[in-house]
Symmetry: C2
Subunit: 120 residues, 2 copies
DNA sequence: CAGAATCCAACGGGATACTG
DNA sequence: CAGTATCCCGTTGGATTCTG
């Protein structure tokens, strides 16, 4: 068996996969990482996030924020009524994802450079 | 305007969001990160990945692998015919995502601990 | 074994209109 | 402004079958 000698590695692999599965359940949505990254910079109102994240619709943003709030990654604060204004902010716990978002963003920047240098 | 003093931050935020968007385009699928994490441990045959990643179907794995291959993150090698066996391996470039997957996995492990300690 | 093909149900998500 | 509700269509993805 090709795996005879790598049982240790395999269990570590399984462990990672389980952990990744957990994470994906929480931030696996198409936009969740972007939203978190966004709010890590500063609290924002609903409409501001909508402007900041290109391509997302109000309906989806609403749903994603609700998910994130449920998992205690962001807070929702009503600032005013008439007209209602709501501010979303990252929680202390949500901020522990800053590492994740920045590692991803950094890879993206390098990836773009790689693509660009290939085109030229 | 509440953003007057944070224009610098905003552009940095936009930059991050753009980078994240790029990354999501490549590894944004439901299973791609898991597949990459998996192959970072060792090359695997199709059926092995299928066993390793709980919940994925053959159809989807096939498609995700094709995407990853297209973006030069994994290689596909036919080992034998009759019966055909194929090995998938991470490329050197794909390996640069190891940071990403491990940061995610680590967060997942901590998250699970947090959840567990809350339950008790 | 690896994967393509087919069928079909379920979900995602856009556009629009409406509400407090 | 920040959503919710409704309609509706396209894609996703599961189950199964088939093939080199």
């Amino acid at each position: 068996m090709r795996n005879q000698l790598t049982i240790g590695k395999d269990t570590e692999c399984k462990k990672s996969l389980k952990a990744i599965h957990d994470v994906m359940y929480i931030i696996g949505g198409k936009w969740k990482i972007a939203i978190i990254a966004c709010l890590c910079y500063q609290p924002m109102r609903f409409s501001e996030i909508l402007k900041e994240i290109e391509g997302i619709s109000g309906k989806v943003l609403s749903k994603e924020l609700k998910d994130l709030e449920m998992n205690q990654l962001v807070t929702r604060t009503v600032l005013d009524k008439q007209p209602i204004t709501v501010e979303y902010a990252i929680t202390e716990y949500g901020h522990t994802l800053k590492n994740v978002t920045s590692v991803i963003a950094n890879w993206g920047i390098k990836h773009r450079q790689r693509i660009m240098s290939k085109v030229l």
